[in-house]
Symmetry: C2
Subunit: 468 residues, 2 copies
């Protein structure tokens, strides 16, 4: 690499610090100087673990921290905490920073780079409703958010919680309140919870949540956060009525944190996420990289860029960037849209396209749903599971799978995730040699049962189309 290079990383969580760590393992400090700026107080933590910490399943905040600032520094990364990057100057190849603990707020510095990694993450959606900033309204995006929520749960006698939004974070937070013995109401604007599933599969989740004592109200758009005489939250108003709440959690999803990148003129997609090439280089740039929750990813099934913020992608992005900056070569080929979640004893998973997503990109499909069990039917604790499968008309190519079930159901989505990546047809899936023994699966794994039904539907559809 010739003269000593300077790598500057903006953001100290999964993508940024993975990139820094991987590059450091490839290049010694006399070849590559690595400086990372983090606005907050923590590095490399599992935001996905926050609901389980709030729910009491994870005891300590520090368990969620994979690597502390001190550990990063010991590994030769110059990490500046509580330091915000306020500007990227691409012409001069430098970034301007501000020390957040400097009381004057005037202490600004410029830092030059040979490689810049943008890993600024995401910010939670916070609609501009009356009362939204009242004490008792919480996000759960960062460890600080989690700590504030836990502090409130300990300070006050919280009997009623309202979770706004029934996506992954929403249902996981609902479970967390359940765990703590707090009555919880989930308010969802859409007609079903989990809009990452088709409505018919979301309805199964809805039913199970209510069965588990999680009051789930759909078609309920929040119009106001109600406050008491002390100014703190006392409830939430929707067109469907008011719901009492000692605490409110916002689970409305996140948007990419790309203000800096936009101001620097870097290319953003429809969602506002940065656009990169396969090596995670920002499009049109030679030495600016981006990864994690601030980028769009290529959806291999639809061929579209999508915004799918997820820790598992962020870690992969970091590895790829670190390897490329370190002088190696790696790519992030894309995603297939896999996600898995749990609410109480319900496991919810999806991969590939929903019906609406398939239509959006002009695909025609057949859709089937089957009900099977996670283990052989005669085996104890065989639990029902539903599998929905979408296959392209005529070609029979797998387009997507959704699973709602109980123990052992969720991770079966991986079978479909690999099959999607490989471009398999549902007919090919019927022949897969999957693990079978009565404690693990019926002799036909539920995914195979769905594939058989989908293959039949593809054939039937083709017959009708040709006959017509």
């Amino acid at each position: 690499m010739g003269a000593k290079q300077r790598m500057v990383v903006i953001g100290g969580d999964a993508a940024g610090m993975s990139a820094a760590s991987r590059a450091r393992r490839m290049r010694a400090p006399d070849e590559l100087e690595i400086t990372a700026f983090e606005r907050g107080r923590f590095t490399s933590y599992s935001a996905c673990g926050i609901p389980y910490w709030v729910g009491g399943e994870v005891d300590e905040r520090d368990q969620l921290i994979a690597r502390t600032p001190e550990e990063h520094r010991r590994r030769g990364i110059d990490l500046r905490m509580r330091t915000e990057v306020t500007e990227i100057d691409l012409d001069r190849q430098c970034v301007r920073t501000r020390d957040l603990d400097d009381e004057d707020g005037a202490q600004e510095r410029w830092h030059g780079f040979d490689h810049l990694v943008i890993a600024t993450g995401a910010r939670p959606l916070r609609p501009p409703l009356p009362g939204i900033d009242a004490p008792g309204v919480h996000g759960v995006q960062s460890l600080d958010d989690g700590q504030e929520l836990l502090d409130r749960l300990e300070e006050r006698r919280v009997r009623h919680a309202v979770v706004v939004g029934a996506g992954y974070i929403g249902v996981e937070m609902a479970e967390a309140f359940c765990h703590r013995g707090i009555h919880v109401t989930v308010l969802e604007r859409a007609e079903q919870p989990m809009n990452t599933l088709d409505p018919d599969m979301g309805a199964l989740v809805h039913e199970a949540m209510n069965g588990n004592g999680i009051e789930t109200v759909t078609g309920a758009e929040v119009t106001e956060v109600l406050t008491g005489t002390d100014g703190a939250v006392r409830g939430v108003a929707t067109a469907k009525g008011e719901y009492p709440a000692d605490v409110v959690v916002l689970g409305l999803g996140v948007r990419p944190e790309t203000g800096l990148a936009r101001d620097a003129g870097l290319p953003l997609g429809e969602s506002g996420g940065l656009l990169t090439d396969l090596a995670m280089r920002v499009r049109g740039q030679e030495n600016v990289w981006a990864g994690g929750d601030c980028v769009e990813v290529l959806d291999l099934v639809s061929g579209r860029e999508r915004y799918i913020p997820l820790g598992t992608h962020a870690n992969k992005h970091g590895q790829v960037i670190g390897r490329n900056v370190g002088g190696g070569f790696a790519t992030f080929p894309g995603v297939v849209g896999t996600a898995v979640s749990r609410v109480c004893d319900l496991e919810i998973a999806r991969t590939g396209l929903l019906e609406a997503q398939a239509r959006e990109v002009g695909l025609q499909y057949v859709a089937v749903t089957i009900r099977s069990t996670s283990r052989a039917g005669y085996y104890p604790r065989a639990a029902p599971m539903h599998v929905k499968m979408l296959a392209e008309r005529r070609t029979g190519r797998l387009l997507g799978v959704q699973i709602v079930g109980r123990e052992g159901a969720g991770k079966r989505v991986d079978i479909a995730a690999v099959a999607l990546t490989a471009g398999m047809t549902v007919e090919q899936i019927t022949a897969l040699d999957l693990g079978y023994a009565p404690p693990f699966s019926p002799v036909w794994d539920p995914v195979l049962v769905a594939a058989r039904k989908a293959a039949g539907a593809v054939a039937e559809d083709a017959r009708e189309a040709d006959g017509g």
Copy 2:
């Protein structure tokens, strides 16, 4: 199909009756007459479930029966129970049968066929040792075997059981005895239990079995079954010593039941299993089909025919045969050698090639083993799991995966099974979009961790080879 056709099926279990049922759904009785001959008293049952029935986890024998003779008959299959096929005459296109309940044993009949399906299954290995036929020595291949063993456990006070052979059936039967509170010793000739794993992974199973109170003695070839004054079994002798036993179970594996086929001149592979084409037609025959535990299957990873008797293959074979006989078209493309099993709380899985199997077919490989956890490390009940991965030198193609772990470990083998089928490299596997949430997986799924290490080993190996 023109004139009415006659389909004759030999064997009333998974492969045979799946073939019959599928063909029946495709063709009405006035087009296709279906006759099936079964030697025993049961049809379409789960032999894999027998250990759980013996262990008391499954209450009733009938729970293991997917479809009774009466149910098959109601669906239009002429099923002849307790009827043995004694000869196949390919020239005259007919089979000779004998009614086993006919006391004279003289009643023989010939039945003509247009399509013959051989689904004669397997027979357990029973070495010609002194005492092997003593009362108290049991196989666990059929429902009748299971019933005899259960009867013995109820008639006598059984305190000590010996299981001969530590393969799948052996370890599952060991667990069954544990469940019943019977002290069990497993005797295995090889140096490690589970010879379906590499020895290093088998050692993990060995350790866990002993930890669970299952005395597991390796390098212990059985030389004699010891009998008492009543002629019944009282122990087992090996070169390593004698082990007391009130009951002995043979778990030495099975061989294809292909005497009839051999006598008819049909082609058998090295294992003695029938050889078929991709449509499950016996090689060189127009209208003779075979499936289930009496055939060899194509191993897609090594390109070799192997004998891998497994209910899940048998069911697929039956579907393919039924569809082809019914006038449709289907193939069984082959297997990748996937198997999963459980002993106590240990989950054991494999797919693809072991080290010895890779060498046997001339493949060179790198092998890596990693230790990770089934869930995020901070999440409750995160259990250790070991993943071993083999990748081809230079190409990096995945060759095999072995997993030993606890809850949630076993079925992860499916990820590798699909990747093997698709011919993926370990580098490609590192980028797979697998389901992630803390209750389900660390942010890097253990299979991805193994793939990263394997990809590194492939690169390192190539570098050294080129540098050499």
